[in-house]
Amino acid sequence: MAKFEKANSVGEWLDQRLNTTALNKVMMTEYWIPKDINFLWAMGVLLATTFGILIISGIFLMMYYKPDIGLAFDSVNYTIMQEVAFGWLFRHMHGVAASVVFLVIYIHMFTGIYYGSYKQGREMIWISGMLLFMTFSAAGFSGYMLPWGQMSYWAAMVITNLFGGVPVIGDALVVWIRGDFNVADATLTRFFMLHVFLLPITIMGIIGVHFYTLRIPHVNNQSSDEFDYDEEAEKYLAGNKKESKVIPFWPVFISKDLAVLGIFLIFYFYLVFFHYNFAMDPVNFDPADNMVTPAHIYPEWYFLWSYEVLRGFFFDIAGFKAFDIGLIAFAFANGIFLVLPWLDRDPKILPAHKRPVFFIWFWILMVDLIVLTVYGKLPPTGTNAWVGFFAAVAFIVLFLVLPIVTKIDAKKRGDA
């Protein structure tokens, strides 16, 4: 065994056994962050905090929630909301955080797209991030079904039915996923397990990977400037703090993150206390009824854009069934962001405002996503159906032309 000296303090005792000084340097005081980044880069810390809130409020909810179709609705709407001290608060914190977490994820994602943070060397950051988005979506959906209200039930019905689109084994697959011919008790209990155990633990694992992938290529910056981190760090350590392009994460950079976090938390608790309703659909205060479909069903706001891509194709085209086209488009919408680093053919990393055609592409995409989101909530009849159709087509076309768009920019600059 290695020889240990007598330690003079708790810190020293830990350092001998866990190498805490070195760890602290790597993780905090010598984890270098570029100076040239704005508040949009604080979204990671906001997400980590919101995820923490979800876990803690979820633990408190889980202690009274009953995953049984006969008891679930009352355990949420009566026991937790009325009897448990502060149960209402934990529910609203959980519900609002589940909604807000997607808002922040989207900002985080589109910041990355705008500044080209998914490119050359940062592909793994992007991919692990998209995997996080997917697992968060699964967690959001499986949690949405737990209160066993009407929206919960029919959301589960529609989403599990999507798997019926898989060739050959589709129908059997749907029965297998539900554990019954219908969305029933077996479905609720397995989604409960996914929501409170398997998905959270998977998310934690991917968060670890996501952080780790960031440490090798380092974080991007506002001007997408490439520089030598070791050189800049040396300057900083030598005392040339002004000249150096980097600052340590702790205690210098974190102060900015925490300031943004402070503002975010004020906004979040404002929603929790005064506007929690936006995350609670009124239809979900009716207990689930497998014999009546609500007049108009729609998912939570953060799924509306892909839902609208799914239902935008409402008529058969060239012998293909509307159903199949919709499903393929839906699969496309959910998978295409994953390969974004390879659709972007520009050899340079630059922010969107320095790539004129890409800049236009980016904002059309934003507008299209907003249109899809708005129309995803409206009934799919008359003109609404057509707006949905064209917006869905536009979404697909945007990604098909991306390689050309990015090549044009590179050519104009003389880089390709």
Binding site: W154, N290, T293, I297, R311, F323
Partner: protein, 166 residues
């Protein structure tokens, strides 16, 4: 290659073989754990009296947790290969879940309209508008007199099912 290396290789391969068999076996077990339970599979025969239906007025009954549409057709509703003919009456028997994504369409005047994505089905259960890819599904049934038992596969069911496949 020395003897030592061969012995280690052998140990490695035998471990891999045992692990592969065990892993495959547990995957089968895990798959089956998510299958419907025997009690779910066994439950679910529902008997319905069709003689009491009023022409043009569909009723909905529950079978295996799913809605079943039963409609005695009027003359204007036309004939269809999937009609169940008992005596001089024609009936539509269908699983009342939209074949698009499984919402329950509602009867409006003379069509089943699905509110979810706008799908529509005529009184014979055929899709006439919107994304549903096929007619409403046919539940298995057996006919005894003017009653049917849902969940059993009688000769009438087999005939209609075959006609629908064609």
């Amino acid at each position: 290659m020395s003897n030592e290396t061969n012995r280690r290789d052998f140990l490695g391969y035998s471990f891999a073989a045992v692990a592969a068999v065990g892993g495959a076996a547990s995957l089968v077990g895990m798959k089956q754990a998510w299958d419907p339970l025997p009690s779910v599979l066994a439950g679910g025969f529902t008997k319905v009296e069709l003689g009491e239906l009023k022409p043009g007025k569909p009723v909905t009954v529950t079978w295996r947790g799913k809605p079943i549409f039963l409609l005695k057709k009027t003359a204007e509703m036309g004939e269809n290969t999937r009609d169940l003919i008992i005596g001089s009456d024609r009936f539509t028997v269908a699983i009342g879940l939209c074949t698009h994504l499984g919402c329950i369409p509602a009867w409006k005047k003379d069509t089943w309209k699905c509110a979810c994505h706008g799908g529509e089905f005529n009184p014979s259960g055929q899709q006439v508008f919107g994304p549903p890819p096929r007619p409403l599904d046919l539940p298995p049934f057996a006919v005894n007199g003017t009653a049917i038992t849902l969940g059993e596969e009688g000769p009438e069911y087999k005939k209609i099912a075959a006609a629908m496949m064609a």
